[in-house]
């Protein structure tokens, strides 16, 4: 074995080891969470998913997460409906219409926005935006709409830059040939390039949803925190992430309550896992 082989082996093993850390951490995380959920799943059973009464500290306790699961979904859906079209419009503008200077300004604004700590956004919404919404008829200072606005602000940079990347990834010749055939600028961008970039755009949408559903601090601060199934945009909600953040700190370790919070974590992890899988699928189907 010469020196070169030796070096190669060392480098390879270092890289493998580092890469394995991630995989092991992920598997370990899953095992850890699943193990912690066992007491709640065996002791409480299906009631966790079917009851909407969350009274973990009462006697007798009740551990129903239905309202919070539904709240999570409604909030995520609502925020996605706001952010995805806006994100696409920004991406489309950046790709097709913006001059270099405009591109630079918008891009740096997006980068800056993505760097703002979430707790600052939460505070800002709570102090400045919430009173405005109350003039429009909100009865509760924290509500579904405010939380959706917060989540949109947070995920907009993410959605816009991902979509812009997938548009830019399409070969410029496609756009040029469409223009040469007499398509308008809008048609070329919207009907030709966007269609070609569809898998990338879908992927961006899924990743954005994934990000929205896991966001915690903003929903903890401005979603209102009542574990009910919201019937209007002015109703408060309490998503799963908010419950975990709010109660994990002082729950007795090892209790059923503690374990039930891990069930909430497992639900979120599963959703995120499924979304990631779908996103992989979408990307792969395009490449074939």
């Amino acid at each position: 074995m010469n020196r070169r082989d030796f070096k190669n082996i060392i480098n390879q093993s270092i890289i493998t080891a580092v890469a394995m850390v991630g995989i092991v951490a992920l598997i370990g995380l899953f095992i850890f969470i699943i193990r912690e959920t066992i007491p709640a799943l065996t002791e409480v059973g299906a009631e966790i998913f079917t009851s909407k009464y969350w009274y973990p500290t009462y006697d007798p306790p009740e551990y129903g997460m239905l309202a919070m699961i539904v709240g999570s979904f409604i909030l995520t859906g609502f925020a996605s409906i706001i952010v995805i079209p806006i994100g696409y419009i920004i991406a489309f503008f950046l790709y097709d219409y913006a001059t270099n200077a405009e591109q630079k300004i918008i891009k740096s604004a997006i980068d800056l926005l993505s760097g703002v700590p979430t707790v600052i956004i939460g505070t800002f919404l709570f102090i400045y935006v919430s009173p405005i919404l109350m003039n429009f008829g909100a009865w509760s200072s924290g509500n579904l709409l405010l939380a959706a606005i917060g989540l949109s602000i947070l995920s907009l940079p993410y959605a816009a830059s991902l979509m812009q990347e997938s548009l830019s990834a399409i070969d410029i010749s496609l756009k040029e040939s469409a223009l040469a055939l007499g398509a308008s600028r809008f048609t070329a961008g919207f009907r030709i390039v966007s269609k070609a970039a569809l898998s990338g755009i879908l992927n961006s949408i899924i990743l954005t949803i994934n990000r929205i559903i896991g966001e915690t601090i903003v929903v903890l601060m401005v979603a209102g925190g009542a574990a009910i199934i919201p019937k209007s945009i002015w109703d408060p909600v309490r998503p799963l992430t908010a419950v975990i953040a709010s109660e994990m700190g002082e729950v007795p370790i090892g209790s059923v309550h503690y374990s039930a919070l891990f069930v909430a974590g497992l639900i979120l992890l599963t959703i995120s896992f499924i979304l990631t899988m779908i996103s992989r699928r979408v990307t792969r189907s395009w490449k074939n």
Binding site: K52, Y53, W54, Y55, P56, T57, Y58, D59, A67, F126, I127, S130, P131, M134, W139, S140, S141, G142, L220, M221, G224, G225, A226, A227, I228, P236, R238, S246, E247, G249, E250, V251, P252
Partner: protein, 274 residues
């Protein structure tokens, strides 16, 4: 040689601190007070090492029975079963009152209401009453926006016990993470109601008298105010009151002028020196 020396020093420090470790367990309500005390105590006695765990009053008292803690913080008095266990095991725990927990009921200053009864309060929090004019016809026909601290807070525990008498809070009640958020929410929303430790109340909100009693310091100290309770530290005094050592140092500091100031700083009412 250097390594051996270092190990020796470390072992020495470990042994020394082991001998001096003071263990405190119990009520989450008292946790912030104990934390403030410990911070200052460490400056006074740098050799003293203290561990603090907030696991609930019952856990604290159970730990006192099996000798795994020196001091049990408790936001409630001893239960009958615990008193029996004490006499069975021929143990003697003494209570030391460290302060009082008084909960103020707050509303927006623009709401035309000055007092409320425990019964009405319970009805609002269990969801039986949802509009202000159900409480009093002079009040606006508006939905009551009900705020509570999250269920991990000691204030929440006291409120559920003293006002709801164990009944469930309605799911429509909005759980907030901090007292600050409660005060902000009530200050901004004309139809809101919330409760908070008396130490935190600001001028942005109006404090209601409950069953005709204002939550003044004296009313809380004498438990005339209905939503108040004493906070205890239980100490094992089977072999007499601890006259020296870390337990004594801790208790003495807690009841000192500075210690009582810190009780107020944590949002409670000081038991001594008012």
């Amino acid at each position: 040689m250097k390594k051996v020396l270092l190990t020796l020093v470390l072992v020495g420090i470990a042994l020394f601190s082991f001998a001096e470790t003071l263990v405190i367990k119990g009520s989450n309500t008292i946790f912030p007070v104990a934390q403030l005390w410990i911070e200052e105590l460490k400056d006074m006695y740098p050799d003293l090492s203290i561990t603090l765990e907030g696991a609930g009053s019952s856990t604290g008292i159970a730990a006192l029975f099996n000798g795994t803690t020196h001091i049990a913080n408790s936001s409630r008095w001893l239960k009958e079963s615990e008193l029996e266990q004490m006499s069975e095991e021929r143990k003697y725990f003494i209570p030391v009152v460290l302060g009082y927990d008084g909960i103020a009921v707050i509303v927006n200053p623009n709401l035309g209401i000055d007092e409320i009864s425990i019964e009405e309060l319970a009805k609002i929090y269990t969801g039986e009453i949802t509009r202000w004019n159900q409480l009093n016809t002079n009040l606006p026909n508006q939905r009551i926006v009900v705020y509570s601290r999250n269920s991990a807070s000691g204030t929440y525990e006291t409120f559920v016990e003293k006002v709801l008498e164990g009944k469930r809070m309605a799911p429509t009640v909005q759980m907030l993470e901090s007292t600050q958020a409660e005060i902000q929410s009530v200050a901004k929303n004309q139809y809101a109601i919330a409760y908070t430790g008396v130490g935190y109340v600001t001028n942005d909100v109006k404090v209601l008298s409950v069953d005709g009693v204002q939550p003044t310091k004296l009313n809380i100290l004498n438990s005339v105010y209905p939503i108040s309770r004493p906070l205890y530290m239980f100490v094992d005094a089977t072999n007499g009151y601890p006259e020296t050592g870390p337990v004594k140092q801790y208790l003495t500091f807690g009841l000192s002028k500075r210690g009582q100031e810190l009780v107020e700083q944590a949002g409670y009412v000081a038991a001594y020196g008012f």
